[in-house]
Symmetry: C2
Subunit: 305 residues, 2 copies
């Protein structure tokens, strides 16, 4: 029997990378032959995590052969998955996003409306009678801190908080100090070109008929990023043209003060104004308290589209 590939979404974040490694550990414990994969480069934050705990990155893949057994973590939409996913045999899905896939066969699906895939994975460990070891717990802890911005994002649930407490005990770490360093590491944009910044955590999301890309960049200081505004806008306009987009929305999220500066370009940029009752000035506006694309951007933009 050939191995089952486990991977998170394209443009992987810390949750996608660690969930792949963690699910690989769990499946191995369950006696299954699996391999942890990733669908793109590590971001700075994830690099920091893997370096900090001295853990190897999952294997990079771009496509799979027809009929390959796969397990999807931290995503379920074919748009965000590996190339040729439509010809894969999906064995399991463990995720915390909306449902955006269909199958012609029954399968194991485990999604919960929690802040991070790892919170669901932690339950799976318990249900199967396992406790994550220190390394695995480090990965899980890092991902929850990442996805919930240190438990401050509105996506954070009681389950996430409880899981972080339990994991921090296993890892024996001051998770708040570690978490802030980790988040800050993720905001270091110095080595990236403009096109790279614009694709770091870009998601194609259609707000009804408004074909959009929403990209999110975390920072400890918004003004630092806004220094690049002209270049960012040039890059965004180029992508809009290439991909025939109606809207490119860039969220520059202040992880310390929990706000987001938005730059919105495209023929439907006014959708941002309508959705939030604000006025774009020079394509930009500060959205107070907005830090979650999933909870504070997608539903509101969709409703107003």
């Amino acid at each position: 029997m050939s191995k089952t590939y486990i991977f998170g979404h394209k443009s992987p974040d810390t949750d996608s990378i660690t969930s792949s490694l963690v699910m690989c550990d769990l499946e191995t414990k369950l006696g299954n032959e699996v391999v942890a994969c990733r669908l793109g480069s590590l971001n700075k934050e994830t690099e920091y995590v893997l370096n900090y705990f001295d853990i190897e990155a999952p294997e990079l893949i771009e496509t799979i052969e027809d009929g390959t057994d796969v397990i999807l973590v931290d995503h379920n939409s074919p748009n965000e998955s590996v190339d040729n996913i439509e010809n894969a045999n999906i064995l399991k899905v463990v995720d915390h996003h909306k449902i955006a896939f269909e199958t012609s066969y029954p399968l194991f699906v485990r999604t919960e409306p929690v802040g991070c895939t790892e919170t669901v994975l932690f339950k799976l460990y318990k249900e199967n009678g396992f406790t994550p070891d220190k390394t695995i717990a480090s990965l899980m802890l890092s991902a929850i801190i990442s996805d919930t911005l240190l438990l401050k994002s509105p996506t954070t649930t009681e389950d996430d908080k409880k899981t972080v407490e339990e994991l921090a005990e296993i890892v024996e770490i001051d998770y708040e100090a570690y978490g802030l360093e980790m988040l800050k590491a993720g905001t270091d944009l110095s080595s990236f070109t403009i096109p790279e910044i614009l694709s770091l955590d870009a998601k194609q999301i259609d707000f009804k008929n408004v074909k959009s890309i929403v990209n999110q960049v975390n920072t400890a200081d918004i003004s630092d990023v806004m220094k690049m505004k002209d270049d960012l806008e040039d890059g965004m306009n180029k992508i809009i043209e290439e991909e025939d987009l109606d809207l490119f929305m860039l969220l520059i999220t202040d992880i310390v003060n929990s706000n987001s500066q938005v730059i919105a370009i495209g023929k439907d940029a006014t959708l941002v104004e309508k959705a939030y009752g604000v006025k774009l000035e020079d394509n930009a506006v500060l959205l107070e308290g907005v830090v979650s694309r999933k909870k504070q951007v997608v539903p509101i933009m969709t409703e107003n589209a």
Copy 2:
């Protein structure tokens, strides 16, 4: 806060009715305000089960108001769900079918490729630290026996078998003797009109572009049902015309010997011949060993369509 409605699919079978009651019990234990509902009349088998254990049927509903909180059990496709499901707020899905729904929000989804929804629900009880009481266990046991035809259907998994053993101990019942009587009760067609028989367990399934209804009727003696063949065919032809179908496939499944007599009518009836390498005679053919619509009909018919 208004109550959450819990229901299985239209044309409810024993799994849909009991899963609604069982999930209602579990959610109540979890402190949630819920009400068990059903989307259609009880079949003879389910009537036998509820009478045998003296349990009241869930409340009959046909539609729901916009924004109602719902929990779906034993189905996830909007086609098989309550009217106006597209405007409901789906809190949870517990099921064992293929994925055939989408959402614009994350939610609790728990599907597994097992023989019966109750097998998944039994795990949820355990994970939450509960044991089903005797009444609830009776319902769960009956549904697994029903969906797996006494653990003989190819949809049966090790999980289903193990769950049946554990439940039979709680109920303190000889489940094989009880199960055979229950299945036989479900085969009593004496009080039904032909249109009723043709809608008892009818599912609209499109095999690629072949618009079809596949209806399954269980029996302890195929020849008993075949006495009504002419009348059944007249009824099927009428439905084909009314619904503009390409195929009406009636499976008359022998629950004792595990075979199905098929009557296939419609312009694409030859799809049955192609899919199984058989020849229809007078619209009919015996498919040896075929008892599962989900596992032995849908994938093979789809592949050959």
